[in-house]
């Protein structure tokens, strides 16, 4: 696809908007694309990046990513008119709530982006949303205003430099009447959240990350285990979104 715009959101987080042909119909929140780095010669493995936002009318796709290594650094240097090769959309995204009622969305760091597309889709289906976004520090915060159009947003930072101080669990009251929880972020956050809601009837979903090779389910590089520990699931194929019941965190 062609780069339409590349925007730096924080010190190390970028939003890349691509335009052109893509299987827009198959996009649902939580699915991801597998991005080729340069011509793949020095970098034979593609990079999995969640779809942060998708506009099938304008034919654009937005990815939001943190620069952490060679691949994302290369990506951050693409400018308008450059070509980027994507595979996707891949994986299984978020499923709509089984029950009506209020929905809680919790994102941490670069786990926030896929929740944007999710919030957009849920609001279209008239769900009421509470959104909690956690970041390390003020300088890492992005897109909180964009989320505000979809629901009530609470921001927290680990050092308290913006919003509430502490981890996302600190600002989430488990006695609230949410029916469904969607979360994406560091594994520690996902675990803490599940523990936080231990005993609750809320239906929880997590989006997981693992190093990937194929991205399509063929190499078994990216597995996680079911809670019994005896069955492997491919995060790229059966996931990246799983319900709490499906996986051991």
């Amino acid at each position: 696809m062609l780069v339409k715009e590349s925007k730096q959101l924080t010190r190390d987080v970028f939003a890349l908007t691509l335009e052109g042909q893509f299987d827009y119909d198959k996009v649902t929140a939580g699915r991801f694309v597998h991005v080729l780095i340069e011509d793949g010669k020095a970098h034979p493995l593609r990079r999995p990046i969640s779809i942060a936002s998708c506009d099938s009318h304008a034919k654009t796709l937005t990815l939001v990513y943190r620069v952490v290594g060679d691949g994302t650094l290369w990506l951050s240097k693409r400018i308008r008119g450059d070509t980027v090769s994507l595979l996707g959309p891949l994986g299984k995204g978020f499923v709509a709530p089984h029950k009506p009622g209020k929905v809680l969305i919790v994102g941490g760091g670069v786990g926030v982006p896929p929740l944007f597309q999710l919030a957009k889709e849920l609001v279209q289906e008239n769900f009421e949303l509470d959104i909690v976004l956690g970041f390390r520090s003020q300088g890492d915060v992005f897109w909180t205003e964009e989320f505000a159009q979809f629901g009530r947003v609470t921001v927290c930072t680990e050092d308290g430099s913006l919003g509430e101080k502490g981890f996302v669990t600190a600002v989430i009251d488990v006695t609230n009447d949410w029916t469904t929880l969607y979360s994406c972020g560091p594994k520690a956050m996902l675990k803490a959240l599940r523990n936080h809601f231990a005993g609750s009837t809320i239906q929880g979903y997590v989006s997981l990350e693992e190093r990937m090779a194929c991205g399509v389910g063929a190499c078994w590089g990216c597995t996680c285990l079911d809670p019994s520990g005896s069955l492997a699931k491919r995060i790229c194929k059966e996931g990246p979104v799983f319900s709490w019941e499906e996986v051991s965190l």
């Binding site: 793949g40 034979p44 493995l45 399509v216 063929a218 190499c219 078994w220 990216c222 492997a232």
Partner: protein, 303 residues
């Protein structure tokens, strides 16, 4: 000019010499969503073991310059599911099937090979001998000539299909292992499996893979693979399936010139899901441009 891409692997006819490599193509389902599998010479399925295996802890893949490391650890659904759920589906795709077989003991190998042969669902066996031999304290079957010969002899007894032995490159003289496999009764040789490698994650200061070491594949190993195909082709008179870093039709031509009859494509599938059919097309154009009518014309011409 019409170009003949077919290969006759000792009676087993392939449409073309390009097959996806074991472990890089599952049992074919995933890539069948990208193209029709009957465009391939054959499909080599994931290593199949007697019992299901979860494989190693993650992370089990990581990238390195020009390649990748994997320590999947033979994760697979086990023989019985492979026979009931995977191979019957794959058979309907109208493409020859090579079943890659792995095990911890000679007995394991024999049981799997026996059942696969009896099932009638496969066209050839590829013996993955890079697995640690639990009876011999974890040394791989494929690094010692007499151990390898012993394994191949036993498997040969139950194997009614063409038997390809897939050699490990982590040895001093691969031609010795090739000779051992041949004298044990192999019908052909596949090479190379991955080179053992390691990456250190500077953030954790520990090996990047949970398993510590992993198998190096991709373009980085191509020169080693071509050299090994060449060395084996000079000493053993069996069909060779060459692999290691193949990304293009020109890469295939290099392997054929070094003595390979057919090739497998592994890591390149991850970079480009259409790699295999693209490589078939590129090989065809290369042959057309060079006026090469069939593969035999160039097979081993660099020897």
């Amino acid at each position: 000019m019409t170009v003949d891409l077919t290969v006759d692997l000792g009676g087993l006819k392939l449409r073309n010499p390009v097959m996806p490599a074991s472990g890089c193509f599952g049992f074919g389902r995933e890539y069948s969503e990208y193209y029709s599998l009957d465009t391939l010479g054959a499909v080599v399925v994931k290593a199949t073991t007697l019992k299901p295996r979860l494989g190693n802890p993650t992370p089990r893949v990581t990238e390195v310059t020009g390649g990748m490391l994997n320590a999947i650890g033979l994760a697979n659904p086990g023989l019985s599911k492979v026979l009931t759920e995977e191979l019957p589906w794959l058979e309907r795709q109208n493409v020859p099937i090579f079943v890659n077989v792995a095990g911890d003991t000679v007995e394991d190998y024999c049981s799997v090979v026996d059942e696969v042969c009896r099932s009638g669902l496969a066209q050839a066996i590829e013996l993955n001998v890079s697995c640690p031999n639990v009876e011999l304290g974890g040394l791989a079957f494929g690094v010692n000539s007499s151990v390898l010969r012993g394994l191949v002899e036993e498997v040969r007894k139950v194997c009614t299909l063409p038997l390809y032995v897939k050699l490990s490159p982590n040895v001093t003289r691969i031609q010795d292992l090739a000779v051992a496999a041949a004298s044990g009764g192999a019908d052909g040789l596949s090479l190379i499996n991955t080179l053992v490698g390691m990456q250190i994650d500077l953030a954790t200061r520990k090996p990047a893979l949970a398993n510590k070491t992993g198998g190096l594949s991709g373009p980085a190993i191509k020169p080693v693979a071509v050299r090994m195909v060449y060395e084996v082709a000079r000493e053993v008179n069996l069909p060779i399936v060459g692999m290691g870093g193949i990304c293009s039709g020109r890469d295939v031509a290099e392997f054929i010139m070094a003595g390979a009859w057919a090739v497998e494509v592994g890591t390149a599938n991850f970079t480009d899901p259409y790699a295999c059919p693209r490589i078939v097309a590129e090989l065809k154009s290369f042959m057309e441009a060079e006026g090469i009518k069939n593969l035999e014309e160039i097979r081993g011409c660099a020897l």
